[in-house]
Symmetry: C2
Subunit: 200 residues, 2 copies
């Protein structure tokens, strides 16, 4: 049975958390893992309707996502959270609860985010039409020692995803995608035999 | 891999939902199922803090429990919900979403509940100190066609649990606890051979 663990994407709005979550989801499903993505928007609809964006409400939202990730993780599911989760302390609280936890900082300079502005939110936030906007009038606390940092202003989503998958392999949470069928020793043994037979 | 499904206990406060949930949890874990109990109190702490007991808030609470049960069920976990869930419509909504759904009505006359009154809530509710109390000034809508009905005023918890387990076996959601190693046909074949050999 594959291990359960939680991949926790944190970063500002528009940085690419959901895109990466979906890429990783697809790749892990290909590798026969059971996977659930808990996207910030899905959670705000299903578990946190009525919560706002004060620090207290944000922390409550993150604890709820953490609660569900923990239920999934301890039942051998890969839970992927994609939520801004701007506060370090509650991220660390969730990490402690879950244990098998891979924090991925999805990093992108705010100038680039404001330039992209896929949802038009930065424009509205800079105009003062949205309050409590992370990175503008609300803080974002960078992780101090995340398991991975991806920089989405210079990497393609595929490059970022590959880096995360490599980290999961390194942590022995997933098996390598294309394991070499022969070890170096096997290779050497084969070469030696072929040589003895005069083939090489 | 064992199937995931949801057992949904519904019934009034003190009827025995949590007791039965814990008995069934223990028995299914013995049978190697992965099981999570989503108890009303656990959920109100972790997912629904701030919600009250209006119809709207109760429905929201039930939808949240349903959302989590669905995540677990589709990942081969047995989710056991134990919440009053007094409204038929939202229970049916959750049933539709989850699909593999076993509704168990934990039935007990209010006179017996008021007499037991383990948490002292009925006394306070009858005295008017608690509003929106199911069965007193708030409705409880009995299920119209639950998969099982247990009557906790006349059955022991073990009897009720046995009835529920039998239902799960009948629905092919779990394997029988002590499967007969030989089928009737096997038995007949064995008898025939022993007879041919003069042993019976």
């Amino acid at each position: 049975m594959a291990k359960g663990f939680t991949i926790w994407f944190t970063g500002m709005s528009g940085a690419g958390k959901t895109t990466l979550a979906r890429l990783i989801e697809a790749e892990l499903k290909n590798r026969e893992h059971r996977v659930e993505v808990l996207d910030g928007d899905i959670i705000r609809t299903n578990l946190s309707k009525g919560l706002g964006f004060s620090k207290e409400d944000r922390d409550t939202n993150i604890r709820r996502i953490g609660f569900v990730c923990n239920l999934l993780t301890r039942n051998e599911v890969v839970a992927i959270a994609a939520a801004i989760s701007p506060y370090r302390e509650v991220r660390d609280e969730v990490r402690q609860m879950i244990g098998s936890f891979v924090e991925v900082y999805v990093k992108c300079p705010i100038e680039v985010l404001a330039e992209r502005d896929v949802k038009g939110l930065y424009k509205r936030a800079f105009a003062g039409e949205i309050e409590h906007f992370t990175g503008i009038d609300d803080p974002y606390e960078e992780p101090l020692s995340p398991e991975a940092v991806v920089e989405t202003d210079t990497e393609t989503p595929e490059q970022s995803a590959a880096q995360i998958l490599a980290k999961l392999e390194e942590m022995n949470l997933i098996a390598p995608a294309l394991p070499d069928a022969y070890s170096d020793e096997d290779d050497e043994e084969i070469r030696r035999r072929l040589e003895a037979l005069g083939y090489v």
